[in-house]
C-alpha cells in the first residue's frame, strides 16, 4: 500500500515540478519580499514588522493559490487525458491513487513553503532582524493552511471541473479566513444572515486559526512581532487542519470510487 501511494506521489511531484507557473510563483514571492524591504524603508522604524507581515501574507496567499491551482488540475487532468486508465487498471485502490496525488502535492507545497520561508528569512537577515520562534510558529501554521487548502481543492476536483473546483475552493478558503467575521454575523446579523452564517461556519474549515496574528486568542492580542501563541496552540490548530484534511480526502476518495472512467 505504502509503495503504491509513494509511486503515485513521486509521479505527481514529477508532474508538478514541470509546471512552469510554479517557478513564476517562486519569483513572485521573492519579489514580494523585496517589495517588503522597500515598504519597510518607507515606514518609520517599522522595517522588521512590514517585512514579516508582508512575507507571511505572501506565503499564505501564494501558497494557498498554488495549492488550489495544483489541486484542481492534477486530479482532473488524469481523467481528462486518460492517463488514469493505465494506472487504476493496475492493482491499486482508487483511494490509494487520490491519497498518492495528495501526498505528491504535499511534497511540492512543502518545498514551496520552505523556499518562501527561506526567501523571507534571507530578507529579514539582510535587514538585520533575527528569526524568532514566533516566526517559525507562524510559518508552521501557514504550511498547515496551505495543506488544508490543497485538500479542499482535491475534494472539489474529485467530482467537478477545474473552473468550478477553483471557484468553490477559493470561496471555501476565503470564508475560512474570515470565520471571526462570520461569528460576528451570527451574533449581530438579521435572522436570515444568521442562518446563512451558521451554515457557512459548519461547512468551512476555520482557516483563520492558521493566521492568528493581530487577533485575540485566549483573551490576549497575539502578534508575531511581540507575544505570540504557544506551541500548544500550533499543535491544536494543526490537528484541526489535519481533521479537515482527513475528512475531505475521505470524501474525495468516496466520490472518486464511484466514478466511471469511460
Amino acid at each position: 500500500m505504502i509503495g503504491r501511494i509513494w509511486a503515485i506521489a513521486l509521479n505527481t511531484f514529477r508532474e508538478a515540478a514541470r509546471i512552469r507557473v510554479l517557478y513564476g510563483i517562486i519569483v513572485l514571492v521573492v519579489g514580494v519580499n523585496l517589495l517588503a524591504i522597500v515598504l519597510g524603508q518607507m515606514s518609520i522604524h517599522e522595517e522588521a514588522r512590514v517585512a514579516r507581515d508582508i512575507g507571511l501574507a505572501g506565503i499564505s496567499l501564494f501558497g494557498s493559490l498554488t495549492a488550489i491551482f495544483l489541486g484542481v488540475f492534477l486530479l482532473y487532468t488524469e481523467v481528462q487525458r486518460r492517463t488514469i486508465h493505465a494506472i487504476v487498471s493496475k492493482p491499486i485502490e482508487r483511494w490509494e491513487f487520490v491519497v498518492g496525488k495528495y501526498f505528491g502535492m504535499v511534497v511540492v507545497l512543502t518545498i514551496l513553503v520552505g523556499l518562501f520561508a527561506i526567501a523571507m528569512a534571507a530578507m529579514l537577515t539582510l535587514q538585520g532582524v533575527g528569526i524568532s520562534s514566533a516566526l517559525v510558529k507562524a510559518i508552521v501554521l501557514v504550511w498547515f493552511e496551505v495543506l488544508t487548502v490543497a485538500a479542499i481543492a482535491i475534494f472539489f476536483s474529485s467530482f467537478s471541473t477545474p473552473f468550478l473546483s477553483g471557484i468553490f475552493s477559493l470561496a471555501m478558503w476565503g470564508l475560512g479566513r474570515v470565520t471571526p467575521d462570520i461569528e460576528a454575523a451570527i451574533e449581530h446579523g438579521t435572522p436570515w444572515i444568521r442562518v446563512v452564517a451558521k451554515i457557512a461556519l459548519e461547512i468551512v474549515p476555520d482557516i483563520h486559526l492558521f493566521s492568528p496574528s493581530g487577533r485575540v486568542v485566549d483573551g490576549a492580542t497575539v502578534s508575531v512581532h511581540a507575544d505570540f501563541i504557544t506551541w500548544g496552540y500550533v499543535g491544536l490548530a494543526s490537528l484541526h487542519g489535519l481533521g479537515w484534511i482527513v475528512g475531505l480526502l475521505a470524501l474525495a476518495c468516496l466520490l472518486f470510487q464511484r466514478r466511471d472512467f469511460a
Binding site: R14, R81, R82, H85, A86, K90
Partner: protein
Amino acid sequence: MPSDIVIDVRDLRKTYRTPFRRKKVEALRGITFGVERGHIFGFVGPNGAGKTTTIRTLMGLIRPTSGSATILGHAIPSRAARFKVGFLPESPYFYDYLTIGELLDLAGRLFGIDRATRKQRADALIDRVGLGRARGQSLKKFSKGMLQRAGLAQALMNDPEIVVLDEPTSGLDPIGRKEVRDLIIELRDQGKTVLFSSHILTDIEAIADQVAIVARGALQSLGTPAELVKRTVLGIDIVVRLAAEIDATTLTTDASHVRRTADELALTLAADADVDAWLERARQAGARVLAIEPRHETLEDLFLRRVGSADA
C-alpha cells in the same frame, strides 16, 4: 463453464444517462462469454459496439450496471482480479514527461515488484518492443506507433497470466501490426491468455482461437473462426487472359464482381453455376484460364452479416 475459463463474463450490462436530458443509453446489453486459458480471444465489432466498454469494465475502470465477471476466479473490480492481468488501453495516453524506462518503473511499482526485477524486466521489455533507441527520450517525442509499443511493454511489466489489449494494432503501420500479431502469438505460446479487441478483421482472423462479434452492446456470434465461418462455397472466382479487343459480354452475363483490364478478365460465378460450360465458352472466345478458386465465407462476410442484422 469449464474450469479452465480464466475470464468469465455473465450478463454484463451498462447503462449510461446522458448529462442533461438524462436519456438512457445502453452501452452493454447482457454480454456473456468465457475465455479459455492459453487462448487468443478476439473481440470484434464496429465502433461503438461495446468492445471498449466491456474491456474497461473488466479492468475496473467502469462499474457495470448489472451482471458479473471474474478474472482468474476473482470478482471484478477487486485488486486481486487485476493483479495477474496486463492491460493496454485504447489509444494509450501516458505521462508524456516520463521516459519509457520511468513509465515501466512506475508500472512495476504499482505491482509491488522489487527494484532489481523492475530494472531487469524494463530493460528486456524495451528491447522486446523495439524501443531500445528511444530509451532516453520522453514519451512526448514518441510517435503513435511508439506509444502503442510503450503501452504493450507496460502491459507486460508484471509478467501477467492474462493480457488484455484494447485495439493493439490501431495506429500501427503494416510492419508494426505484424509485429504485434507475432507478439500476441508468442504470448500464447508462453501459456498466457490474450483477450484483444480490434475492428481489423484480418488481424482477428489470422491469430484468434476464439472470436466474439459484438454489435450494439450485444454479442452476435461466439466461437472459433472455423465454427463461425461457413466452409460452403459461396461462388467461384475465375481469372482468364483475354485480349482487349474481344467482346466478353457472353462471358459476364451471369457473373458478379466483374473486372476487365487490358488483357485479363476476372469475375465470380454463382456457386451452382455450370463452370464447365462457362469455360468452354471462354475457350471458344479465345480466353486462357489463369485461375479458378472457390470463394468461401470470410470473417468479414460473417461480420457484415451479423452487424447488419443487429442494426436492422
